[in-house]
Amino acid sequence: MFDPGILAETTELMGKSGAGLAIFGASVGAGLAVIGGGRGIGQIGGSALESIARQPEAGGRIFTSMIIAAALIEGFTFFALVVCLLALGKLAG
């Protein structure tokens, strides 16, 4: 599963100028950020669905609150993404 050739190449890049390490860090960081955001928004969506199922008349208000909470969480997930993009951009620029 692990190809030793790729590992060797990455390590070599890491030694050279830190470029490989930066690419590795940025990519892994973006993936980890998505885990947190996805879990949080999934939990909100789940509770919203449960509460709408219990009380369909409150559906409109619950939906609006769900959308707002999801957008707030997405906001700081995008912070992490922007930091990763900045790290990659420092490489290119």
């Binding site: 609006t64 707002i68 957008a71 707030l72 906001g75 995008f78 912070f79 993404l81 922007v82």
Partner: protein
């Protein structure tokens, strides 16, 4: 026809995401995002007044759409938060919402591609998403910052506003609370700017990445499926355009309400 095929293949899809200079007047560089801000302003200053010019008792068409949005923003968003002060701040909130919405939607129109295609490659980069630029969203957030604190100070008087800035804590904690609230006052508009900027940038970047996949695959089948995926993603982007404008306006109204009516 050969020329057109070369044109379409020449631009990288990431061109839609980045800012490009299109003119230079002395030391001032005029970029395509600045052009899009002017276009959004033109839409709001020319199209909207024309739409609401014929004030009938029963509105129809674009007038009805605009009025429905304004009514929704005032009654469902602003009034529960601001109470009786709605009419003082609603014009600023309406302007924020419609400006961000106009910028986001103008970014979804493929104006730069069409103009490049029809002018056979002479006029380039006459379009883009203004809100995918951190300086545009940063300016909107800076205006929100000024609006929030000046409104709070005018509503309560400067000394009373500063006293009510922090919640009630025992006296040794007061300086620390001021530091915390001051940091919060700077971070909240910064978060507004980054949220809008990153949402717009990420949307267009994902579309660009999918199109790069279509180009790199060198097969019509993969390219066809990818283009259909891009169309579906563009529908999501239209939803995100409305949602982000709503979220920005909602959070501005929320911060205004905590500045104007502090919780005792």
């Amino acid at each position: 026809m050969n020329e057109m095929a070369t044109l379409l293949a020449a631009d990288s899809p990431l061109d839609h995401v980045v800012e490009h200079p299109i003119a230079q007047f002395g030391p001032v560089v005029f970029t395509n995002h600045m052009l899009m801000v002017l276009e959004a302003a033109a839409v709001l200053l020319i199209v909207l007044p024309l739409a609401v010019r014929r004030q009938a008792l029963v509105p129809r068409g674009l007038y009805s759409f605009v009025e429905a949005i304004c009514q929704f923003l005032r009654e469902e968003l602003a009034r529960p938060l601001l109470g009786k002060h709605v009419d003082r701040y609603i014009q600023y909130l309406w302007t924020t919402f419609f400006f961000i919405l106009a910028c986001n939607l103008l970014g979804m129109l493929p104006t730069e591609s069409l103009v490049t295609l029809l002018s056979l490659g002479r006029l380039k980069h006459l379009g883009g998403t203004a809100t995918a630029n951190i300086y545009v969203t940063g300016t909107l957030a800076a205006l929100a910052l000024v609006m929030i604190h000046v409104s709070g100070a005018r509503q309560q008087g400067v000394l009373s506003y500063l006293k009510n800035f922090i919640p009630h804590v025992p006296w040794p904690l007061i300086p620390f609370m001021y530091v915390l609230e001051f940091a919060g006052a700077l971070i909240k508009p910064f978060a507004l700017a980054i949220r809008l900027f990153a949402n717009m940038l990420a949307g267009h970047t994902v579309l660009a990445a999918l199109l790069l996949l279509a180009l790199a695959s060198r097969s019509y089948a993969v390219a066809g499926v990818t283009v259909l995926g891009c169309a579906a993603l563009s529908l999501l982007e239209l939803f995100v355009a409305f949602l982000q404008a709503y979220i920005f306006t909602f959070l501005t109204a929320l911060f205004l309400s905590t500045a104007v009516h502090p919780e005792h």
